[in-house]
Symmetry: C3
């Protein structure tokens, strides 16, 4: 396993970054995040140049970080502006700073060669910051390598077995998928359109639909980090109109940001944006609790799987079938990214 460097990754939600120091490790690189008095998000290497003490264990003084061990002080660019016991500040006293972009409620950081960082390349999840949608969200850390979460999300047939009673029904596992890969833009699409399906509690209780449904799951995975699931729920037989708004259907935009932390740990940012009942807090609370339960089921299963795989030889046998087409395509694109960027060796 290796990480894809020279890529944008979600390090935090915007609301997590403030005037307290936040430690996050992305692709094995320890970061400290904070916000200046003017509100700008900053990401610096989380190690003092002096004796490697984590700056996240320290404190802010205005817009600077004062190392909690010996007081080496850094400005938001990473430059050291004070050292103890002497006036002269060594020229090399500087910690790395990381390009940061806030977009769609995420704080994206660029891991790799700064000169290659292009904010326009960051994939979008506009529903998360769109007033026409109501959003519930959280972050669940995994003690598992990020590939396991990619596998998990690319193959939703597991909903039937791991998430029965929440979002899984028999039709998810039994309905074939179609998979497409946009090689140029580097996107994997997986679609499963269920025309006559049981409505799982997750949608029955939140939409109020009674009886069977038309349920569409359209996945877009933008490796390495952003995963979108466009979920369309409508009474059975109700298809989108040829023109105009799809107003008889309910839409949930389910977003995951999958950020490798270390070789065996992953940040799992998840959000559910809905275009229905957006002012009904009880629906929001229900969807938050339900999806948190679903995510916890995934975390539990993937943490188990990590321990299994970590104990096995790297060339262990797997058996892939049709449902894995999307996951295998994702693995291929990820491997290509690892190959083309600066290759990182996970710690």
């Amino acid at each position: 396993m290796a990480f894809a460097r020279d890529q944008w990754y979600v390090a935090a939600y915007d609301s997590e970054v403030g005037r307290d120091l936040l430690a996050r490790t992305v692709l094995g690189e320890p970061l400290v995040l904070y916000r200046t008095g003017a509100g700008e998000a900053v990401a610096l290497a989380d190690r003092c140049v002096h004796r490697r003490y984590p700056l996240s264990e320290s404190r802010l003084d205005g817009d600077t970080i004062v190392c909690g061990y010996h007081g080496f002080t850094y400005d938001p660019t990473g430059a050291c502006v004070f050292v103890p016991g002497q006036q002269r500040i060594p020229r090399t006293a500087r910690v790395a700073s990381y390009p940061v972009v806030e977009q769609d409620s995420f704080v994206w950081v660029w891991i790799g060669d700064r000169d290659r960082a292009d904010p326009a390349a960051i994939p979008r999840a506009p529903w998360l910051a769109d007033p026409r949608y109501a959003v519930v969200r959280d972050m669940a850390p995994l003690n598992a390598r990020y590939e396991l979460l990619v596998d998990n999300l690319m193959d939703l047939s597991h909903e039937t077995y791991l998430h029965g009673g929440y979002i899984g029904t028999p039709e998810v596992a039994s309905t074939p998928i179609t998979t497409e890969v946009d090689e140029e833009r580097g996107i994997v699409y997986v679609s499963r359109h269920m025309d006559d399906a049981e409505c799982p509690p997750f949608y029955a209780r939140s939409t109020g639909i009674q009886g069977r449904i038309t349920r569409w799951q359209d996945i877009e995975y933008h490796p390495p980090c952003l995963y979108l699931l466009h979920s369309r729920i409508a009474p059975r037989g109700v298809l989108p109109p040829a023109e105009g708004a799809d107003s008889e259907a309910f839409h949930a935009e389910i977003v995951y940001a999958i950020t490798p932390s270390t070789a065996h740990t992953t940040y799992n940012f998840w959000a559910v944006a809905r275009d229905f009942a957006i002012d009904d807090e009880s629906v929001g609370e229900y969807l938050y609790n339900s999806n948190r339960t679903v995510v916890t089921q995934d975390v539990t299963a993937l943490d188990i799987l990590e321990r299994v795989i970590a104990a096995e030889p790297a060339d262990r046998q797997e058996l892939s079938i049709n449902i894995d087409t999307g996951g295998l395509a994702a693995r291929r694109l990820l491997a290509r990214m690892v190959g083309s960027g600066t290759v990182g060796v996970p710690r």
Copy 2:
């Protein structure tokens, strides 16, 4: 260290295997055990062929196991009979099944080449399923390599020091042993006959004998897994008659099944079968509690020793004396077994 494959090992007590899935790791191989509706014990490899998810984290559907991640379904032979999203089941979709024999209240599994599995080769412990005996038993997992438990049980002089106040008295350590090895059948015999010994509480309270005793300890070790201690307790001077039943003595058949789990963990199945006070539940309760205490003393000591040994070089120095004759013979037979079978590399 290596494991002896192509051998029978106790994976569970018969009562542990039922309609719930039981996970056990034997010689580093993860197994899932269950019982079919018809009552037959089944042992399969505990890893789904698809993505290596543990089947023991799943559920039974009739006699089949349905993987809890994506629903791959296996029959008791290990054949896959269902996969999600498609009708065709890949020919190679099969998990290993293990030969299983239920005997003497144990569930024995064969680890190695199926074609070499001979149920007649399983050593016997008939007292555990004989109505003329009352049995107390349990299983204590060790965080220690199995050789340490073999060493421990082959040299009972430790009873005096580690188990004083329970089963140890000064005579155990001071009385010389005789050791014999049946090279052909692969059995080690160690005997210690104490003619005039203090009666430890374990036997004083359970038999009611007052005063000093004749105490015989006759060990039979059938490597790798089965250890028998024939314990004969009688008033001092009472020897077995030349003919007929030894009815003036009390007999305890103490059985251990020693099953390597991983390179550094071991299952320690222990049972005490007695031919006296077999209907007296208070004696059973007393012997259960006492032996559990004794086993816990061993587990504590061996877990300490494992940490010591794991931190030392493999060629550490030991000093063996007469009391170790049986243990050294056991080590030699085990090494021979490792050499003759398929050699397993512990994980």
Copy 3:
């Protein structure tokens, strides 16, 4: 990293060694310490020659240790005087004994070649056993390599940042140091004389001084184990007289014994001896609690730093400045000691 062998190390306070067995690991060598009936401190290798069981898990019988597993018995010289089941004691049955010297309330042990052990080479900390001083002391184990504690103590500018509110004031970080190395005797001296400094609570409350102070910190480090901080506190402007006692000042002799346990753990013996308020128990209690808090702050920081450094390559970058002169000199002397003695490989 390697350890400096052929050196004296503090294994315990004298009061810790008594008629109970005390386990300590010094330079990776497991020791068991106890005191004979006549009061002599004994240090033996903490592993029975038979099966490597820790003797510290055993018990004393008079002046001998009886192994808790099989009863092998050792006298204070390490000679085996009893084995179970036979009269003959093997000639090689002996555990290593370590030269021990009790001095200045410490139990020093020699790790290395016995023939090179010279008690006269042990550095002194006489205040710890001098009735003209009152002493508070304790031991705080670190989950960090000992070099980190040496670094910490050689550069007291960290007091300002890590120990603000206890012993740190701005002047500690801002006042330059002078460093001297006695190459022949192998001692590092670091001095910081603050002529006009804020009085930290540690000294304000214990001495009763009001207002600003003259504060001298004079460090003597005797690698590898003994660190002395001569702390002189006086009202601002009060210097020692040209002749006679320095009776207008308060003196605290702060002593650390820094003993490597394993490659990643360290014993941190600390003591504060004062020549003022020696009969005032409330001052002693206050200084004990304050210094324990300060030491805990160091332990917390160094344990964090150990995890940081253990995850990084050995050739990680550091940036040293003037304040590090003493620490770098200490590292150099330690490296020389490692080079000249028998080099130990930490486990």
